[in-house]
Symmetry: C2
């Protein structure tokens, strides 16, 4: 006997897809100001829909950045109240010429839906929102009280989420947070994420003279900004990828043996993982690939540029070089302190007489771990077991949900990630996609979880 | 009693400036195919003028790249024949936003003329061409036989100059080459360049996986192309700027003590040199600044890029990184061999499993030295002494005139540089300029030199 809400979701597949496509066509890129219009359009669409579906108190929460969209349905009396999270902003589409179909024109190929943001996080949050819509349409109510928080700055480190949480702590009060962001580890194994790495970042500019110089007239006697920047970046790591920054590992406890054992027992085809990427395994000696991804911190150069980068040759001795760095953090590391130790390393290594300017990114996040006994975690595990027939395994993710950290600090709440995107879906890369099958799996699990939470 | 040709040049100052401005407005950038139209326009202008002024056999010498413009006046019987060289191509104007006035709109400020290419080489070659025009206008003839060779690929390593010289060796036959390119060391001391460094270059691309990856999902376990590229670049030099590439110094003789002594006695205000650049002295231990510039080879990174370089943050783990390198060579170094040793270094240092593609630039040049007893060198020294009242000093230049090397190899001729641009005039940088006073000095010296060569 199919659940009536689930049947309704199946029956309205075509219109759900239409709504998702309309949402995906909006270029809501938060990090680049030239997409401001797309950000505004996405918020208007969400507010219109939430109002039409029966949510109340629909509004934008504006703390000076891209506002969050908020809505609530609180008609479930003394049932629990969940804060359901998603984000409407997406990564930039660059490099656009590597997309097989346009980033903002959703395209179905081979059972996958391709579009920028489909996996991160418009598809997964559509599963959550359409499930709620279906409950309201079929039953006129939700099994529990729900508050929706749809963020617009997830892809830029959740710059004003903290301010919004502090300003609206009463509005956002709940029993726990259920996140439609976070991605499944893999499509064929039910898993629950129990932790994520934190992050923080900085950008630096090296200046070696007051103008670009002729490489013949000045080369050999005047420092080259790109040489300095390359040396600074190379100095951050040993050749095996281990991090060479004083203070970076302070307060980082040794990796727990029980976690190592648990992760070692997960089905993980390392050869296939690297074959798919056409990459070679690499990283800190003494750790497995999963440990490097889930249990160890990183420093990554996300972008670097300087000098002449156009076609042909320009025999310039560049006077400026730039680099963007982000660090992934593990429990024990504080974003501010990590920025400080990396900045100190760069300043100390920078040769005398060479200028270095360091700009910190806003919005770092600490690593996050879900407490093992959290009721929402147990309910999510049961819902997944019910819909898949398998007991879900605990995994972690290497990426960052600043949400979990911020919500915990500002609202005192824990977050369970319940997303149906998958980690291999090219989010942050060209040809981002989401499996169409994940929508069915997601609807079943969300319906089951909401009913379960309403029963207790 | 003023020389009649020189007086004519003074009287026609206004029209000479008009012609120069028209020439400078043409964006004849050779390295970027989008400027093709500017290159063509510059050639048409030169041919029209040469024909109008009385040159014969005006034509383009096309060896598959940007053609040279050729013209000749051979009415001086058994007087010597000089091949006079200049180039009509200019550097790209980037970064355009650092120019105080538009790069292709000549602007006079404080006794200087600002425009891309004014100093390198449209101004200096205008001095040569207008001097010849004035002789023909005033006297109906030149003191010697002249062949003009105006190149269109100087800023891209003279890619097809060699082919042109070989194809047209009879047309270009002469007693020696007088170059209107090469730049004076300084404006207040008469000098003759007796040598220049050679050059060669390559571009490389590092590939660590088949797509850009999410820095959280993959960071720590998959190599980052920018980390690899930074390490490769950093590995080329020691911290003092000395070069760490096996084979780079093979066949490089020790620096000659007589040259060190001569250069040490030159008036050179090192403090002012670096103050003007707002830079700090830097380079190989055991050499002075002038020795580093004139007597020692270099490897410079001219450009480097990879990952996300737009506004804001993108937490990408870049799968590709690119760098452009040029090397400056001293006598004993062969461009092909230097490219080989640098490429070998990069390939050997590149970690296993990481792809590296190396593309050689066309058109490297060996270092060049003028023989001390060359008659044209002696005549040039006398002309400078006559017009300045001072005996010119010998200097070298750190940059490259592929011309000297190619002409010597292909035509067996030696080249004397007789340019009136100055080394501090921001060529290859924003706000390129030329001193207006250099035009008067240049006209006087060129008139004197041509008369002197005609007397012998």
């Amino acid at each position: 006997m199919t659940d009536s809400v689930l049947r309704h979701l199946e029956d309205s597949k075509a219109e759900i897809q239409d709504r998702l496509f309309e949402y995906l066509r909006i270029p809501s890129v938060s990090t680049d100001p030239s997409y401001e219009e797309g950000m505004r359009t996405a918020r208007e669409l969400l507010k219109t829909r939430l109002n039409a579906w029966g949510f109340r108190n629909v509004q934008e929460l504006d703390a000076g950045g891209h506002p969050c969209v908020y809505g609530e349905w609180l008609g479930a009396g003394d049932k629990p109240t969940l804060l359901i999270y998603g984000h409407y902003d997406v990564q930039p589409p660059d490099p656009v010429d590597l997309w097989d179909s346009p980033a903002f024109e959703p395209t179905i190929r081979d059972g996958n839906l391709y579009a920028r943001g489909v996996s991160d996080d418009k598809g997964p949050s559509t599963i959550a929102l359409e499930t709620l819509r279906a409950f309201l349409a079929v039953e006129g109510k939700l099994p529990i009280n729900v508050k929706l928080l749809l963020e617009g700055e997830e892809e830029m480190g959740s710059a004003t989420l903290e301010a919004n949480c502090l300003q609206h702590s009463e509005l956002l009060a709940a029993d726990a947070v259920l996140s439609a962001d976070g991605a499944r580890w893999r499509a064929d194994l039910p898993t629950i994420n129990i932790g994520s790495r934190g992050n923080c970042g900085l950008e630096f500019t090296v200046t070696t003279s007051n103008r670009d110089l002729h490489s013949g007239r000045f080369g050999g006697a005047v420092p080259n900004a790109l040489h300095v920047a390359a040396d600074l970046l190379a100095s951050l790591h040993g050749l095996d990828g281990s991090i060479n920054v004083a203070g970076f590992f302070e307060n980082v406890p040794p990796v727990k043996e029980e976690e190592r054992d648990a992760f070692a027992s997960l089905p993980f085809d390392e050869q296939a993982f690297f074959k798919d990427l056409e990459a070679t395994a690499y990283g800190e000696t003494g750790y497995t690939t999963l440990e490097r991804l889930w249990l160890r911190p990183t420093i990554e150069v996300n972008g670097m540029w300087g000098g002449y980068t156009g076609p042909g040759t320009k025999t310039v001795l560049p006077n400026e070089a730039h680099a963007k760095l982000t660090m992934r953090l593990v429990p024990g590391q504080k974003p501010d302190r990590i920025i400080e130790v990396v900045a100190n390393h760069l300043k100390q290594r920078c040769p005398q007489g060479v200028g270095i300017q360091i700009a910190e990114n806003r919005g770092g996040a600490e690593a996050y771990e879900v407490p093992k006994g959290l009721p929402l975690l147990l309910a999510a595990e049961q819902a997944l077991e019910q819909t898949t027939g398998q007991k879900p395994r605990h995994v972690k993710v290497g990426s960052t949900l600043p949400l979990s950290d911020i919500i915990h600090r500002c609202l005192g709440l824990h977050t369970v990630m319940f997303s149906f995107s998958t980690a291999d879906e090219n989010f942050h890369s060209p040809n981002e996609f989401m499996r169409l099958s994940a929508f069915d799996e997601g609807f079943a699990a969300w319906v089951s979880l909401l009913r379960k939470l309403g029963e207790d």
